[in-house]
Symmetry: C2
Subunit: 252 residues, 2 copies
């Protein structure tokens, strides 16, 4: 009746489980149960829990590679509409100006931008992935291949190997589509909704600047559709800050 297990089936069940209930729910016993099998059966297809986690990272990297290849296929169309997009890129003045001045000098930036944002879309589907990737020790081969690709784009754009090397470090985890989120200005314990007047008042006593920032940002908000901390905007702002900063190091 039921076909035999395989590494692929185990991995995709693991991804599904992590997506649905978080990586904390991913135990050998639970995963086996989801597959209608005993925990020990998994060891026939995988070297153990650690190998399972390596496989998860591998799977996510493969998804990113697919996503990036797709941006490549449609890069011309994307680039043409980038400057006119509403809401996100258009709000980072720095990038806008560069695109206006533009010609084809912005090519390398648009390409990397497209890749990193495509990776981000993958990460949004797998919220457990950043923490997992961040704690893995072994660097998967697929990651080297990806960095090789980024490096190729940088070298071709006219960067020296030294600056390209530093750029890779500066990008941090952005090529994989995420940044470390240490800080959310909404203190833990409060709701997801906007802070109340009283909460801001209480906060103002001890942390006046943070309180003022919260107040100002709520008041300034041009587009009410976007929440208090719209990570997409922040991600793109940081990305453009880095890309535009690096542009100055390019050789012609």
């Amino acid at each position: 009746m039921r076909e035999p297990l395989s590494r692929e089936r185990v991995l995709s069940a693991a991804v599904a489980l992590a997506d649905k209930e978080g990586i904390g729910a991913l135990t050998m016993r639970r995963l086996a149960a989801d597959l209608g099998v005993e925990a020990m059966s998994l060891y026939y297809h995988l070297p153990g829990k650690d190998g399972l986690l390596d496989g998860l990272v591998e799977t996510v990297l493969a998804e990113i590679t697919v996503a990036i290849d797709e941006t490549g296929a449609t890069s011309r169309a994307r680039r043409r509409t980038a400057a006119g997009r509403t809401g996100t890129a258009s709000r980072t003045a720095i990038a806008d100006r560069n695109r206006r001045a533009g010609a084809s000098s912005g090519d390398w930036r648009d390409q990397l931008r497209g890749w990193f944002l495509a990776a981000r879309a993958v990460m949004l589907r797998h919220p457990w992935a950043p923490a997992l990737i961040g704690t893995r020790r072994r660097v998967p081969d697929a990651l080297y291949a990806y960095y090789e690709r980024i490096l190729g784009a940088l070298i071709e754009a006219g960067f020296s190997h030294r600056i390209a090397h530093r750029a890779l470090h500066s990008f941090g985890s952005m090529p994989l589509g995420f940044v470390q989120e240490l800080f959310s200005p909404t203190p833990a314990g409060t709701t997801e909704t906007e802070p109340s007047e009283e909460e801001i008042a209480a906060m103002a006593e001890v942390m006046p600047h943070l309180a003022a920032m919260v107040a100002a940002e709520m008041h300034d908000a041009a587009d009410p559709m976007l929440g208090w901390c719209d990570s997409q905007v922040e991600f793109e702002f940081t990305l453009d800050l880095l890309l535009d900063g690096l542009e100055r190091f390019r050789n012609t």
Copy 2:
């Protein structure tokens, strides 16, 4: 004979254990053994393992606060020597030029730079801290206080609340003195020493740009004292990229 336990003694024993054997060795039973006590005794002083980890983060943040206060006390002396320092800052051309053009317009940058580098020194003493901080869910109060401080410096320097907010996001984990290290160009399995000629040749076939970068960086190396991947240089390069990029958004 032996004085009773306390939350402080437990925490400092935990820090010592993590420093010496890594966070993986930090179990309730092991920590208790180090303190000459049974595992269950710890629960009298701490709410549990999770509370212990919260306490560790708290301890590290306190160390950072102390380190930052010290930079404040000697900030004038530091700033005067920053441009002439050998090896690190002087190699990031961008920062050098700004300091030369300088006057006091670089003040906010030097201040934040000093803070973040002081935090980095703390992290180097506690290599387990970045991974721990990155996975904690609750944002400790001390972190809010720290961000309040950074925000104050930014506002005083003339940034709008909106840009200051984005700057906080852009800094990522740099205020805590670390960046996510996903990528070390030395493939896992190779030694810490420089890659051999054959290794580079083999690498060149499949990843030409990475291989060329390794070769170029080794050849170019102006200062043979520094290794292939000197994180200090990379940290400061990225930091200056962000600080100098933000400078353009400052009001007067």
